[in-house]
């Protein structure tokens, strides 16, 4: 395959960035999107140009490192798929592809396609846990958890923290991310004691980080590689309201 790539290049967070166009030949349809970028980088190095920096690690769709806007869509055209799991057979020969970083105030660009997503970590640090010290747990089967609850908790817990939901949202809202963590713990008996406090703290931190409000456009759900449902946002709002009422 032959491709024309338009890639965002930016030297560091203070520098001005811009799109640069590259021609890439000999791409195999069996390559993953990141392997295609590897190939581009090899060519750039050969030509004496600095390679394009992008985040990645597992390349299995689970670590949440990879993060690209591909033709304006977070993680590209395939549903339920991270960038690292996207394959070039999805594109046609001769295609032009636009590749940009996540765009959100809370995720500043560090270089090229790499952004700083530490705001997500700080939201979890504010309350996204069950307070239980090592060693103080009762027997694991002491409290039965209905299978349906365990399954629903797992659906929400599948979030990989990639930030696609924020990147795709016009308001850069992090509600899908925060809602997923709250829904995960709220469905389990272990999460009950701190349920309202957790919602309050995480939502406050989310606001402090500069994430926007949710206006129900549902774009986050559409791009989420783990198919987290927007129903977690409604549940989050309920818990948050209760926490402030009482």
């Amino acid at each position: 395959m032959r491709l024309t790539l338009h890639v965002w290049r930016q030297a560091n967070s203070a520098a001005r960035g811009g799109m640069v166009t590259y021609q890439l030949d000999d791409v195999s349809p069996d390559e993953s999107f990141l392997e295609m970028l590897d190939k581009l980088n090899e060519q750039l190095i050969e030509r004496g140009e600095e390679p394009v920096a992008f985040d990645h690690d597992c390349r299995e769709g689970i670590c949440g490192s990879c993060s690209l806007m591909i033709d304006g869509i977070a993680h590209g055209p395939d549903a339920a798929t991270t960038t690292c799991q996207l394959h070039m057979r999805r594109f046609r020969d001769g295609a032009e592809i636009y590749i940009e970083p996540w765009r959100a105030k809370a995720f500043p660009v560090l270089r090229d396609l790499i952004t700083d997503r530490s705001a997500f970590d700080r939201v979890i640090q504010a309350g996204g846990y069950v307070s239980v010290n090592t060693g103080s747990a009762p027997d694991a089967n002491a409290v039965p958890v209905p299978k349906a609850d365990a399954d629903a908790a797992m659906d929400a817990a599948a979030c990989i923290g990639c930030g696609a939901c924020v990147a795709t949202c016009k308001n850069a809202s992090a509600m899908l991310f925060v809602g997923a963590k709250l829904a995960h713990l709220a469905r389990l008996p272990q999460g009950q004691a701190e349920r309202r406090m957790r919602a309050k703290r995480m939502v406050e931190q989310m606001d402090a980080e500069g994430f926007g409000a949710c206006t129900n456009q549902l774009e986050c759900e559409a791009v989420c590689p783990k198919e987290i449902r927007v129903s977690v946002i409604a549940a989050m709002n309920r818990d948050f309201l209760r926490s402030s009422v009482f």
Binding site: G61, H87, Y129, D139, A157
Partner: protein, 636 residues
């Protein structure tokens, strides 16, 4: 080199209890005066950092990713073992201990392995209390599945994302301590050297991967939880960033490296599809519960799999190992797949593949059940290969997956450098020459939650808090060594990219130090690796500078260490002329092609010591078996 394993006295079942009683304690009010550096935020590092902070220590935690939640542990799929015996199928601490020791082909310590089995039970309790959504039965109790090398059902799982859920549990505990100010988290920070002052590990040197700043960090003890070295093979199931640098730098500073040649080749990975391949994808071993492995009976049978009748298929694991069948341990399954392919019966375009077939399971249980159990794995397979595993059998082939070797540690998980502790995959301690499935997660969390927090106190109680200072000459020397090395890499100015060197090293390692190793091959590798290293240091092209985000520079440092480390692995593989577990020396096999162990000569841990400007020397820690008599490992 002092290799006293410090195994406590007493009966096997009482050793850990006795030991915990004898360990010195740090006064609770004093704990906050001790600073501990934990390098790594995977299952081992995150669980340790959180638990140490809960106890009251001041903790610094480091990872090279942008968030501790992205450590490679996140990728583990299949499950975690524990001797809960919830299924009432005859499991016990002793059985898990025995299976682990036997699975490791009697090349690990009895006492360590037993302790691992003991604390496994607490791990599950802890994780459930954190909110880890393990799979459940309709009655609300925890579900289990079986895994290779075991005849009981003791593996706990969260769909095909067990590692993710366990890591998110540990990450949440860690986040709570970061929020409370007890852990200072350093993300995008890579450890480039260990600082040893007056014979004790007293800190580390890191590079800030965003700004390039080199920093000194002083500590009262250093914990390495930096994972395994599988990426020395370039292609492996490990995440792209996994590296040996932290462990190798510690080795250079005097820490013994144990059994570096012990690597695990996992039998069920998606075969290589072409030159562009950047990593290999694991298909969880749990698939072997329901999938049947086969190749055509006839050589060169190129018919599509569904057109090959049962009578013309060879379900070779079921045939050769009737009692374990498709659940034979990993080393055995991998070698059998290689044999079938070497005989010309491999499938797929390259001929390097075997079938993993779900046809019978789908008929027996229905598509829904299979989808429930393995949906995400099937999805991933279809994405990568563009084939539908519900319709045609998966094609799989062995790939490098896990490393049993690692820094040598005693029963307290302390390396040969006092004050340096090593946990998780980075140490060598519990899996001998082959690790059983679902036991790495168990070991990482055992070390981090339930072993290290006790044993490190014993060391700290005997040292004065805050003794290390970043102005000590050892820090200055280490920092300047790091800076010089970075400058040297940037100054080469050659023509070849880092990746091209890494690929070539990987090819040498896979060819000569992979699934089957020979004297001649290893000797060849020991010539090719130094030659490649020389080329690397004269022909590397590295663009950009030292004081900005520079991905190629990060890679170059790691590949430079792999080039040294690969040589150490080959030396170790050459010295161990027996076959055991994942280490198969072609010269040492039985008449029917099974690995032939040599307990007379090799019932020991090989521990390598670095010598500046000279070849490393090997020391031995003898392994003695008081409770289990090493037998010929049979899974027939």
């Amino acid at each position: 080199m002092n290799l006293d394993p410090k195994i406590p006295a007493g009966d096997l079942a009482d050793k850990w209890d006795n030991h915990r009683f004898r360990l010195k304690l740090v006064n609770p009010a004093n704990k906050r005066r001790y600073r501990i550096a934990v390098v790594g935020s995977g299952l081992a590092g995150a669980s340790a950092a959180a638990s140490l902070a809960e106890l009251g220590y001041e903790v610094d935690c480091f990872c090279f990713q942008d968030s501790p939640r992205r450590a490679h542990s996140i990728a583990a799929q299949g499950g975690i073992n524990a001797a809960k015996n919830y299924q009432n199928d005859g499991d016990s601490v002793y059985r898990l201990f025995y299976d682990t020791l036997k699975g490791g082909d009697f090349r690990s310590r009895e006492a360590n392995t037993y302790r691992l089995a003991q604390v496994s039970v607490q791990i599950i309790d802890q994780c459930v209390a954190q909110g880890v959504p393990f799979a459940r039965e309709y009655g609300g109790h925890l579900a289990n599945r079986s895994f290779g090398g075991a005849q009981v059902s003791r593996t706990f799982y969260a769909r095909g994302q067990t590692g993710q859920q366990l890591l998110l549990g540990a990450y949440s505990a860690l986040s709570r301590q970061i929020g409370a100010g007890k852990v200072t988290m350093h993300v995008r920070s890579e450890m480039l050297d260990l600082v040893v002052a007056d014979g004790h590990a007293k800190g580390l040197i890191t590079r800030d991967l965003v700004t390039g700043a080199i920093r000194r960090h002083a500590a009262d003890a250093v914990v390495l939880a930096t994972g395994g070295y599988g990426n020395v093979f370039y292609l492996s199931t490990n995440a792209k960033g996994c590296n040996v640098t932290a462990a190798y730098r510690a080795f250079r500073r005097g820490a013994g490296f144990a059994n570096p040649c012990f690597t695990q080749i996992h039998p069920t990975c998606i075969p290589v599809s072409g030159e562009h391949q950047s990593k290999l994808t694991l298909m969880s071993e749990s698939l072997r519960n329901d999938g049947r492995i086969w190749v055509p009976l006839r050589h060169g049978d190129k018919r599509p799999p569904n057109e090959i009748p049962d009578a013309e298929r060879d379900y070779y694991l079921e045939r050769k190992y009737p009692s374990f069948g498709n659940l034979a341990p990993r080393d055995i399954s991998s070698r059998s797949a290689k044999e079938a392919c070497d005989e010309g019966r491999g499938v797929g375009e390259s001929g390097l593949g075997v079938y993993l077939d779900f046809r019978d399971a789908i008929r027996r249980l229905g598509r829904d059940v299979i989808e429930q159990r393995y949906g995400n794995l099937f999805h991933m397979y279809a994405k990568i290969t563009a084939e539908d595993p519900y319709q045609v059998p998966m094609r799989i082939y062995p790939a490098v997956h896990y490393t049993m070797g690692g820094l040598w540690v005693d029963y307290n998980l302390m390396a040969t450098i006092p004050g340096l502790f090593v946990i998780g995959e980075a140490n060598f301690s519990d899996h001998g020459a082959n690790r059983l499935g679902a036991s790495a997660l168990m070991q990482g969390l055992a070390d981090g939650y339930f072993v290290l927090p006790y044993t490190i106190g014993d060391y700290l109680a005997q040292s004065k808090p805050g003794a290390a200072h970043v102005d000590h000459e050892a820090f200055i020397e280490a920092e300047s060594a790091v800076e010089k090395r970075i400058a040297a890499l940037l100054a080469i100015g050659g023509r070849r990219s880092v990746d091209s060197f890494h690929r070539e090293l990987g090819r040498i390692m896979w060819e000569y130090c992979g699934m089957a190793r020979t004297d001649a091959g290893l000797r060849r590798a020991l010539e090719e690796i130094p030659a490649l290293r020389e080329q690397f240091w004269s022909d590397l092209r590295l663009l950009g500078g030292a004081d900005s985000l520079n991905v190629s520079l990060e890679k170059a440092g790691r590949v430079a260490d792999f080039l040294d480390y690969g040589e150490l692995m080959c030396r170790d593989a050459l010295a161990r002329t027996e076959s055991c577990g994942g280490h198969f020396r072609v010269e040492s096999q039985t008449d029917d092609g099974e690995a032939k162990r040599d307990d007379e000569q090799f019932a020991h841990v090989s521990v390598w010591e670095h010598r500046d400007g000279d070849e490393p020397v090997m020391h031995k820690e003898p392994l003695t078996f008081e409770y289990v008599h090493p037998s010929v490992r049979s899974y027939k």
